[in-house]
């Protein structure tokens, strides 16, 4: 199978869906000639023109509101939010309008909108361009949240998102745009709410999102060398969440660590860990543990920034203690 970058996979998904459905269009800052700062959308404006690849002024609330309105009236906008950190600017349009319109109109209106944005630290972008804020939107009923962990997932999930009749937020890890993975030439979609078991194991389940799937896989390799068999699972979408697959795994291994790049406190690691506790309690042989980003603004100092996110070594160290039956907290 050919290998392409995550960036190329997203580009392909959007181009294919725009060819398929004339209602699909892209709107955002620097999306046309610039093709976004990460060059994800390069070439689209040449094929589809500036009527469907629309550059906007620097006004996130403005173009987000515009997109929500167009979605209510029959279009299928893909909103490009240059950094996930700018979510704070579009919260009303996204959470109060897009997420609730279908419900509050009694089903008469729907908002088939995709908000594609990014997450991820360690790019030396400082505290306002490095956050992983998916927990903010996952908290809001009415929004679906996808977190691709490779080029393959990025393409399949993007196509599903564009065809969904409800608002979907997709978070791409900005450090993974150049990562390559096998992506078939032929068309495929990845359904929402179906987790992917990346690696089977028997001693502990490592649940990772986005780039933390890679961290979990590397941790599993470290553990394998020590005779500890780790299962790695990528939920792929956190709303909807494939609880059944996670629970089946944890019932089998009886231990779990949930790894995510959002801040650990009040984040999605806590939500997933809590569901496992509630529904697999009698199968647990150790506490379900969370590993998120440190609860600090992401430092600009490279030396400090690297300390704030979960690492394969850190995951392996915690897994080792859980498997050994160590008591983590008095």
């Amino acid at each position: 199978m050919r290998e392409i970058t995550l960036s190329k996979a997203v580009n392909e998904a959007i181009a294919e869906e725009m060819r398929r459905d004339p209602c699909v269009f892209v709107i955002g800052e620097d999306v046309a000639e610039a093709g976004t700062p990460f060059k994800v959308l390069s070439g689209l404006v040449e094929e589809f023109g500036t009527d469907r690849i629309i550059d906007t002024p620097i006004s996130e609330p403005g173009f987000m509101g515009l997109a929500v309105g167009s979605a209510m009236t029959g279009m299928r906008p893909i909103v490009d939010l240059m950094f996930g950190d700018f979510l704070f600017l579009v919260m009303d349009q996204l959470c109060n309008q897009a997420a609730k319109t279908h419900y509050m109109s009694g089903g008469k209106l729907s908002v088939p909108l995709v908000l594609r944005t990014n997450l991820g630290a360690t790019r030396r972008s400082a505290a306002q361009h490095s956050q992983s804020l998916h927990a903010l939107v996952a908290h809001i009923p009415g929004l679906k949240v996808a977190m691709p962990s490779s080029a393959y997932e990025a393409k399949g999930l993007m196509k599903t998102a564009i065809r969904d009749n409800n608002p979907v937020v997709i978070f791409e890890d900005k450090l993974m745009y150049q990562d390559k993975a096998g992506v078939p030439e032929e068309e495929y979609l990845i359904p929402f709410g179906v987790a992917n078991i990346k690696r089977e194991g028997t001693d502990i389940t490592l649940i990772g999102t986005s780039s933390m799937v890679q961290v979990a896989e590397k941790a599993a390799l470290i553990l394998e060398a020590e005779g500890i068999s780790a299962e790695v699972i990528d939920p792929r979408t956190i709303v909807p969440l494939d609880e059944a697959t996670l629970l089946a795994s944890v019932r089998k291994t009886s231990r779990a660590i949930v790894i995510d790049e959002g801040h650990q406190s009040y984040g999605i690691t806590g939500e997933i860990a809590s569901r496992l506790n509630e529904k697999a309690f009698y199968h647990l042989d150790a506490p379900v543990c969370r590993m998120g980003a440190m609860d600090v603004p992401v430092p600009f100092s490279p030396a400090l920034e690297d300390l704030t996110v979960p690492t394969p070594e850190g995951v392996a160290a915690l897994a080792r203690r859980l498997v050994a039956g160590e008591m983590l907290h008095g």
Binding site: S254, F281, Y282, H283, L284, D285, A286, G325, M327, G330
Partner: protein
Amino acid sequence: MAKPHEVIMPALGMAQETGILVRWLVEPGAAVTKGSPLIEVETDKAVQEVEAQADGFLSDLRAGAGDEVPVGEVIGLIVAAAGDVTEGSGAAEAEAEPATATNAAAPNTQEETSVSTKSDTNIKSAHNDAIHPLDPSGRILASPKLRRMADDAGLDLALLVAHGHPQPYHAADLDLLRQLTQAAAEDLAADLAAGPATGPAAGATSGPALGHISARVPAAPCDGFLARMREDAGLDLAPMALWASFAASALRAATAPESPLVVTAAVLGPEGFAPTTALSNPDLARLSVQPEAPEGATPSLILRDLTASALTGLRPASGLAAPALTLARDRNGGRNGGSDGDSLLVALDYAADQLDEDAALAVITGLAARLADPLTYLV
């Protein structure tokens, strides 16, 4: 040589982890009799005298006055013959701590010494600095998974505690728990084979063949009755009161005895049988007031309650002074879809000269009927 009796540091409180041996009340090598004061133990609450649990001679002292000893640890032996007495450093157990008879201080009381000769090799080593993380409330610290597995297998985690196995417990400790349970069952069988400790008549009827009848009844009616008494009437009855009353009543209906019925009752806990009580005509008294039989009364029925333990049966290896009725709980119910609850297993062992088969059948049938419908028979 008969197996020596192990003197262990007893658990006198729910959350007790260690006890301080205040002093031995018997000189090493001196004769002890069962029931006579043997040691003084200080817990966080009080100093208490503890009695010897066997007849013999005090031997192989492994702890001295002032030593703090983990609960369950062997601190000495009671051997059958004066000639078997050894001084502290343990002829009986190769791995015993070096110690002297007069001041047999284990060099470090936190360290695990061999507790059971059967399972030493499986016991996790607990180092000095590994503080036993016992919950102050006495709750055993075990993973939910191990709790479920132990429950499914009818095993009691308290056995791990009694053997000083360091907490918290995990699924990996299930194998050791199985072994300890097996060992405990073998010990019990051995004790029974050596002669039941229920009275002077023990072993007297070794001749005639033994009969055995058993039955299974749902536990829910009795459980429900006891719960209602507790919740509605505020009467916290020991299950044994109910068993004794029904057993005596079933025996009375089957045999129409002329003299009072004396039932000796013993409840099996994690550390073995609790002291036996002898009840006189328990079926004719109120459940809350169990009349004790005069000392030395000949038992009409020996009742053993295994319902609080993992055991599902216990057959005497030799004759008994009286017909023996055993009650056990089968926790296998309630798991497969929850339609079946727990069961009570009742079994009657008797000698041909104690009961004829018809009477034995009537006893077990009558008891099963009472257990299945307690309210009808109590009114």
